[in-house]
Symmetry: C2
Subunit: 249 residues, 2 copies
DNA sequence: CGACTAGTTGAACGACGTCAACCGTTGTGG
DNA sequence: CCACAACGGTTGACGTCGTTCAACTAGTCG
């Protein structure tokens, strides 16, 4: 297999390794790297898969951020999850035929599609990986619960701070953040849709947060200037991310 | 094994059967029924397990309703899921050592504890059940996403209506509801904590809903008088429950 | 029978939404 | 190469859904 195609597995491997309860064997690592992926690009706001589809493949985020969202009958949009490189947003389609949410490119996005049969094949040969991927889906459930707490019980300012904390920790885990700063080309609309507020309000909160010297978010880049203060404002406790070691210093 | 102890598996079996993609073999059904459970009772508001514990067993809800909840550092409570008979609220503790939320009795509650080793044992002997339980956890994720949409993007009236719809469908699935009515001894506080509003506001919304002749909720019993209107008010679409056949008429 | 829990209701307040105008950047086509 | 539309961001004025605080009722239990 071509090196240029293998490289993208980097953050994916890193993520799986960080979630497995054991050290991956050489064979297991190779199996993950050997997953045949078909790379594909999406412009911001393009849908990758939409609700009610029945995909026969899943995809790994290679670069950029994907957003899972649902709409009410009245056309209100709620982002229910963000996916950073290494994540597999529609992994569940392996077991649930019809997709109950849509996934779009929240920023310009590069993904790698992987056929379900290839995944099933890998699980058969490497049963320990099955448990690891089960863990992956369970951890996503944990994120979902924390989002619920965040969106329903904290005020907008804390909510936004919390989201920034989470994204940074997740980016750090796959080696895409350093010094509490990372690429983050989300628009205020996406942030608003994720946090259950309006874009106008995100704008105001962002202004306030900038004003307090906590962060800057511009040119598609997030920089945290006062990490302890951000954590404090967010009430952020990384336990729900189920990291193996404390990456969240 | 004693009949009196086997009976409780009823709604559990019904739920698993409704989620499996195949018809359970006799052996599989027997394996599920043979799971050794230790029955236990909890008064309303008592915790069954709390955040950060590392349980070596899970439990099946036998009677009553359990609530999964999380708290903010400031003491705000958010219920992130309700569990009806047949559900296994902390099933994930099988793969995630430390629990990221607490589970309490939302009503008087009867549960059956099952050791993790017994479950692992069952999975080894009946591999097809592994996939089915994976489906169970994935469907819970789907519920969680719908709750997010509900709590973040609908007004309180619709939210409550939606919750009632969901609970009724889930109760029907395990044979505990008929005529769009079922036992439901939740207090206004629990409803409020689940929907991200205050108890006072739930009270007002409930009054309005009663006034419109949609439902009555009293004496621990929910009765829907106008199911179509309730669905309409909720914007309820049962797709996210991933039912096999349309129980939600 | 007092104490506790659950529910009910009113009045004042506040966080966030709505509406609307305006600015800067980008990219595209005449 | 300019014009202009499209998009993202910014800001003000005002409206509202839900909160907060508080008082009061009814049922229940020891």
């Amino acid at each position: 297999v071509d090196r240029a195609i293998q490289a993208p597995h980097h953050s994916f491997l890193r993520k799986i390794e960080s979630i497995a309860l054991f050290d991956l064997s050489v064979a297991e690592r190779e199996a993950l790297e050997a997953l045949p992926i078909q790379a594909s690009e999406f412009a911001a706001h393009q849908d990758v898969v939409v609700e009610n589809e029945r995909p026969d493949r899943s995809f790994i985020v290679l670069d950029g951020i994907a957003a899972a969202y649902k709409m009410t009958e009245t056309g209100q949009r709620q982002v229910v999850a963000f996916y950073v490189p290494g994540d597999v947003p529609d992994f569940q389609s392996l077991h649930l035929e019809v997709l109950d949410f849509s996934i779009c490119a929240a920023t310009p996005l590069r993904v790698g599609f992987v056929g379900h049969d290839a995944i099933r094949n890998m699980f058969e040969r490497h049963p320990r990986l099955t448990d690891t991927f089960w863990r992956v889906t369970l951890i996503e459930g944990s994120l979902s619960r924390e989002w619920m707490l965040n969106n329903c019980r904290r005020e907008a300012y804390s909510r936004l701070a919390h989201l920034f904390c989470e994204i940074l920790v997740r980016m750090e885990r796959v080696g895409l953040a350093s010094n509490h700063s990372c690429k983050l080309a989300l628009t205020q609309y996406e942030l608003a849709d994720a946090l259950g507020v309006t874009q106008v309000h995100i704008n105001r909160v962002l202004k306030e947060m900038r004003g307090s010297g906590l962060i800057t978010l511009s040119n598609g880049h997030l920089a945290v200037h006062d990490w302890p203060a951000l954590i404090e404002a967010a009430g952020f406790d990384p336990g729900y991310l189920h990291l193996r070691q404390t990456d969240a210093n």
